[in-house]
Symmetry: C2
Subunit: 434 residues, 2 copies
């Protein structure tokens, strides 16, 4: 007879697990910044110098002393002597005297004396300085008409306007994205300290489970959980380590789990799906250290028989053998666990807003997850009340017991909260990509 | 003087580019299914056999002939002789006769003669068959009380209920996710044909641009675009190929672009940011084949000076030198381009719904992209009208000219559509993670 199980809500189950494991990061390593995408910073990084390092123009135009342009309009332009051109990538000897300007390109160094830049489109070249009516004796290679006044600093970036030298450019715990890679390289930082990736052991159990490359006999099924969960672990920033398949044998499972626990940061056992093997998994977890099993059963579908435990400060997770249950519960528990072990904040999960095509019933108190297919042409009839708008449609994928080939046709999953007794066709839902 | 530019809306610009390049996939290669995550299928794959291959139980319980349970209730149970236990992973010799049942575990093979399974919780073992009042002479290892009737097929999965042998399990053009990996392996398919990943050449130009490892002199800036764009290309499924930095020299750029075009499927030139070097990029693209430049200028911020062209059937993209413009336009054009070259449908992009903390102005007719920081505690004051709810807040990251270190502090970007003149504080926005 199956034992009485107190089913925990998924959020409470996850918090129980996360509260009992040690906080990350588990250690750190130095990597090249160009290979740091998707890693988590293990230390605050200070800018070695300011960005930009010199005052730069943000437009193509003429560097000026701002005061020389005051009052300039189309009908009453200012006339400035062209003192030269600022070459890109070089310090200029040039110093702007009153009444002078210099041709400058976007990104060029603002010359000494210059305080703003007039955009090229608000200027015009006059043939030569002699063309100026009542021209002074000021020497120059030409004369420039300026039709628009600029304020001090206009069309320039000051030293340190992006980042001040010595301030933090990358915080500990930050997930490194393309822009962070760019910011570090812009500062000449080519290596950085990142959190060690947690190593997650995967053990499949079940007398009926065989390697995917095997020709099956009647009654056998191929191991898929080790591989689908490997994908989830990689996506979350961990390193999957597959320990293979053990038979429904308590001592064999205990022995392999003990080896995996010593070598890895997390151990995941995908159970043979019968009640007796689930009990075996729980007993093995309890035997490996305290506190042992913390949660036995989650009020969710799929995934009710999931077991969460902690031994020697490390998490052990027993997942149902059903591939869809294992995958959904992998998303639910493995991702936040790996995030904690990396020392990063739980990430907000991005989703695609869509309109549900049909009613979905759910048991109140239980959190349900449903796979859906997305279609960009709304197929919701108008009688559902709200206009379909431009939202894609989300069509539930129905399949008994959540079958894997059926799930493979889905684009994502939607959540029916525990408090709801279902969702109505035409409702807006958040689809989390699979 | 800068030339007159007709600015295209981003969607029209993208469609113009995609319409002129050859459709993908560019070719295919065979990979191991365990290494196929994130790849795009290059062929339809048929299931070599049905899934499941045998009728399976979906629960722990007793396999029965459904008719034997009809009418069974708590007060009037059915009594069935226990004919044995179905071992996991093996074909059973056992055949259920009328009045018999067999202990079965989740995933076990339904025995011959059995048509449904009664869950363990709706059954009870009676000491021995002698205990039955007026017991018949039927032999058995025990007697089982059944308290609930089951219909034909209840708590079982039929052969082919997940997938029928010979039908398509994976379609050409499908992005392979964890569930697809699982479905293929469940069918014993360990290798599969995927689209060749497009190779994207990256060329940086500019006299002021130096390698990130270089100690800069006054006026120099480090190349970051080659690396931020590499990240975008990898995320989209392409292979970045960095060709280094060329000076502002038309013939040097033409020569390197020509080599890159021959070796790669796409060439991206991040321009020196001045108007003259932009003109150089356009001239080089026009010189490499027809039709040459298709779009010169996009009505978007950042990214206005972007150039899109096609030569010899391959796309060439000239991006602004500003790192943020280059990155945002990389997302805008490189991702759909790579998706097309992979032969897959454009993916719906997942986002995080959030509430904008402040007003953002925008020019009507221009599409703007703003970097934002996300915070999970809503910080929007109640006077903005709508209740903050549980949405995270999205705070725009303000920085002149979109600076890279400033962008690195952002969590994502939001879009202000061309038709809008801005967004109001308190509005719901979709944040696309960076």
């Amino acid at each position: 007879m199956p034992e009485f199980i107190r089913l925990l809500p998924p959020d409470e189950a996850r918090d129980t697990l996360l509260g009992a494991v040690q906080a990350g990061p588990l250690g750190s390593e130095t990597v090249k910044v160009v290979a740091s995408l998707g890693r988590v910073s293990a230390a605050d990084v200070a800018a070695p110098h300011a960005l930009p390092e010199f005052p730069r123009s943000t437009v193509d135009g003429y560097a000026v002393r701002a005061g020389d342009t005051y009052g300039a309009t189309d009908s009453l332009p200012a006339y400035l002597d062209l003192a030269g051109e600022i070459a890109m990538g070089e310090a200029s000897e040039l110093r702007l005297e009153p009444g002078q300007c210099a041709l400058i390109h976007t990104g060029g160094v603002l010359p000494s004396g210059g305080s703003a830049v007039v955009m090229l489109e608000y200027s015009q070249t006059v043939e030569s300085s002699d063309a100026r009516a009542g021209g002074s004796a000021a020497p120059g290679v030409g004369l420039i008409e300026i039709f628009r006044a600029v304020a001090e600093g206009e069309n320039t970036i000051a030293v340190g306007e992006d980042i001040v030298g010595g301030t933090t450019v990358l915080k500990k715990g930050h997930l490194i994205g393309p822009a962070t890679v760019g910011a570090l390289l812009a500062l000449g930082i080519v290596e950085t300290e990142v959190a060690r990736r947690p190593r997650v052991a995967l053990i499949s159990t079940g007398d009926e489970v065989v390697d995917p490359s095997t020709a099956t006999r009647l009654g056998q099924v191929r191991d898929v959980n080790s591989y689908t969960l490997s994908a989830v672990i990689e996506q979350a920033g961990g390193i999957p380590d597959r320990y293979g398949i053990v038979r429904d044998d308590s001592s064999a499972l205990r022995s392999l789990s003990s080896i995996a626990l010593a070598a890895c940061d997390v151990v995941v056992i995908t159970a043979g799906s019968s009640a007796s093997t689930r009990d075996t998994t729980a007993a093995v977890i309890d035997s490996l250290g305290s506190p042992g099993v913390l949660v036995h059963g989650i009020h969710t579908r799929p995934g009710k028989p999931t077991i969460l435990g902690v031994c020697q400060g490390k998490a052990l997770i027993g997942l149902p053998g059903n591939p869809v249950s294992a995958l959904v519960n992998g998303y639910m528990f493995l991702i936040p666990l790996i995030e904690k072990l990396l020392g990063t904040q739980p990430r907000l999960k991005a989703s695609i807003r869509a309109r549900l095509t049909t009613n979905l019933a759910s048991e109140a108190g239980r959190e349900d997850w449903w796979p859906v297919k997305l279609a960009t042409r709304p197929e919701v009839p108008a009688e559902h009340g709200s206009a379909p708008g431009e939202l894609p449609s989300a069509e539930p994928v129905f399949g008994k017991s959540n079958l894997i080939a059926t799930l493979a046709t889905a684009d994502g999953i939607i959540r029916i909260p525990a408090a709801a007794t279902g969702l109505a066709g035409g409702e807006e839902v958040d689809v989390y990509p699979l």
